[in-house]
């Protein structure tokens, strides 16, 4: 059982921030790792990245986008409510060292897990550029937090309502042409990470991506999160979630993410009929 200590709507109407009491997990967790939660007895197990770790106060933070049944149900949980199961920290931490100039690319809720990574990279003395993309300016998250730790913040919006008009790869390409980078790290939707990897490939810059495949146990037991990396089958939960983006077979990943689309849609519709909920308060 893990108690929710703080909840905030950070992006209207569907992205929420939670600070959760999890002293043991916070003691061990490192940037790039994730937890698996189960909301209640009938719930499914879903993975969520750590958006912040505070070992002194014994808390972790999650940023969750309500996309389907479980994440929407989670959005109805409030301060004081308890999450039945929380298991972690899982996965290998992101490898942090002194690289020199690092470009971080975040899309959607992917900006959140990049935040603790940015802080650790900063502590190691790296120069950090972050590229944050969204469809429009209202959909951006974590801008202020990122500004506080990064040397340069580039924003892209599809509609041009803020920053550069275009997608993150537009900004990434410009940035790489102007002055190179020692490493690029990307977290976000698979399609975005795929194009980030394609953008850096001709520059020959190492690109680390965080793969969000469908998981159950998160301990290597089910094999559902398998991805093909460099022609080999790897498990995102134990070998990853970070992998070399130039080696990932993106088409397999993107395809496997669609496995339960029909089932999930059905269960979400049925749930919505049974529940009265307001996504934002």
């Amino acid at each position: 059982m893990a108690k929710i200590l703080e909840k905030r709507l950070i992006r209207y109407p569907d992205v929420f921030y939670y600070r959760i009491n999890a002293p043991l997990i916070s003691r061990k967790a490192k940037p790039g790792q994730f937890v698996i939660i189960r909301l209640h007895e009938r719930g499914e197990r879903i993975p969520l990245s750590l958006a912040d770790i505070n070992s002194e106060e014994g808390t972790i933070s999650l940023i969750v986008m309500a996309v389907g049944k479980t994440t929407t149900e989670m959005s109805t949980f409030n301060v004081g409510d308890e999450i039945l199961d929380i298991c972690g920290p899982l996965g290998q931490p992101t490898h942090i060292q002194k690289y020199g100039r690092v470009i971080l690319v975040g899309g959607g809720f992917g900006v959140a897990p990049l935040y603790p990574i940015a802080m650790s990279l900063k502590e190691m003395g790296n120069e950090i550029v972050v590229i944050m993309g969204a469809r429009s300016k209202d959909l951006l998250i974590y801008e202020n937090e990122m500004r506080a730790v990064c040397d340069k913040v580039l924003i892209t919006t599809d509609d041009g309502s803020k920053g550069i008009k275009g997608v993150v790869t537009t900004a990434l390409k410009q940035e790489l042409e102007q002055s190179s980078a020692n490493i690029v790290m990307a977290v976000g939707p698979a399609v975005m990470m795929k194009y980030v990897s394609e953008t850096t490939r001709p520059f020959g810059i190492k690109t680390v991506v965080s793969l969000n495949s469908i998981m159950i146990d998160g301990t290597g037991m089910c094999g559902g999160c398998r991805v093909s990396v460099g022609g080999k089958t790897r498990f995102a939960c134990t070998d990853g979630p970070d992998f070399d983006g130039h080696q990932v077979d993106w088409d397999i990943l993107i395809n496997r993410q669609k496995t339960y689309i029909n089932e999930e849609r059905g269960s979400f519709e049925a749930w919505k009929k049974r529940h009265v909920f307001a996504i934002c308060e």
Binding site: E44, K69, G220, C222, G223, N255, E263, G266, S267
Partner: protein, 467 residues
Amino acid sequence: MTENNSKETILTRTPIPEQDPAKRRSNFDEVALGYTPEMAMKEAARCLQCKRPLCIDGCPIHIPIPQFIKAIKEGNFEKAIGLIKTASFLPAVCGRVCPQEDQCEKNCTLGKKAEPVAIGYLERFAADYAMQNRNGADVKIPKPTGKKIAIVGSGPAGLTCAYELARLGHKITIFEALHDAGGVLVYGIPEFRLPKRIVAHEINLLNEIGVEIVTNAVVGKLITIDEIMEEFNACFIGTGAGLPKFMGIEGENLNGVYSANEFLTRANLMKAYAFPEYDTPIKIGKRVAVIGGGNVAMDAVRTALRLGAREAMIIYRRSANEMPARKEEIHHAFEEGVQFELLTSPVRIIGEDGWVKSVECVRMELGEPDKSGRRSPIAVKGSEFKIPVDVVIIAIGTGANPILPQSTRKLALNKCGYIIVDEETGQTSREGIFAGGDIVTGSATVILAMGAGKKAAKAIHEYLMHI
């Protein structure tokens, strides 16, 4: 006491009532319904009460078999379960899932002339009887020794070790990675073979004798073995062999291809058969192929039928004689309408738009016996053919999970990643750290895992009382 030792009674085993195959293939209720007291007493009367009971030699944990059978014959069921419990902590589980035909029943003297005594069914009867008529008075809280022992993994090995040590008065904490305790008993073996309430009941006895079970605790991530050793006097590792193996053939990552572990975990632990009432989805194939011939494959194929597959088949590269699954399960699967493609091996999985469409197979012949003593299959050239399916489940075995060894200093492993131990004690390369079950032997059986847990408990006790 009336004894009926007519020839016929001695020769034929009392059949166990079962759900009708046509009905049970669409529900998750238990297949075998269990003996009534009358049936149990009748079957128990068949036992010859041998002076030299070979059945006990066949039992890895040496349950006093003739003694408990005698008690059943006399109608003293409380005594029967008491006798079993001196050796086994999970009788309701063992009575259901042990491969008796290869163990106690294989050795039974009666089996030389007729059908062996149904030792497994009798064990199950005694356990179920005790569960239904429990007065709760038999739990003795032992005097504390002041020693603390950590157990990693709550499968049969860890549970048995915990039980044995707790009974000696040690303080036990079990760390379990999943949200429920039981290991394969809860995530792998399906409800229709082993109802989860039975596992829960047997585990609950541990709570009653003061064992603490911490779920959602992945050792190696949340806490390391080295940290455990700072806080506890000793530790037992029973993490099982849960890492699924794949064949490395084309198409294995298509949608609709499952490892048996994923398929069974969704169905059992996450109750996907009750989706959307429970939130975890599962693909219900119209035509399902399961690759493999062990218990895991049988469980997967029968689960697929119950989820609503129109056709479900086993694809196995050897013949029916070599299948490692329990005979009873193969028989049950056959009765339920599972098809068997024997002497057949898949070579690739073919997809369309990212989804499985068919599996291409090749016919096999049996050649010379290999190292395992089984005749090794050889592909027949040019015999390739396709079987149209929309779900493929791979049940060709599992390996050692790397999380714990990777995070533990100086723990000696063999080249496949299994933990190396002293066979008699379960002691690993590190003092105070013991291991047993599938993480030592590779995938084996519930009873062997329990035997290992028991041996290690004895060694841990001796170790702690002598340091």
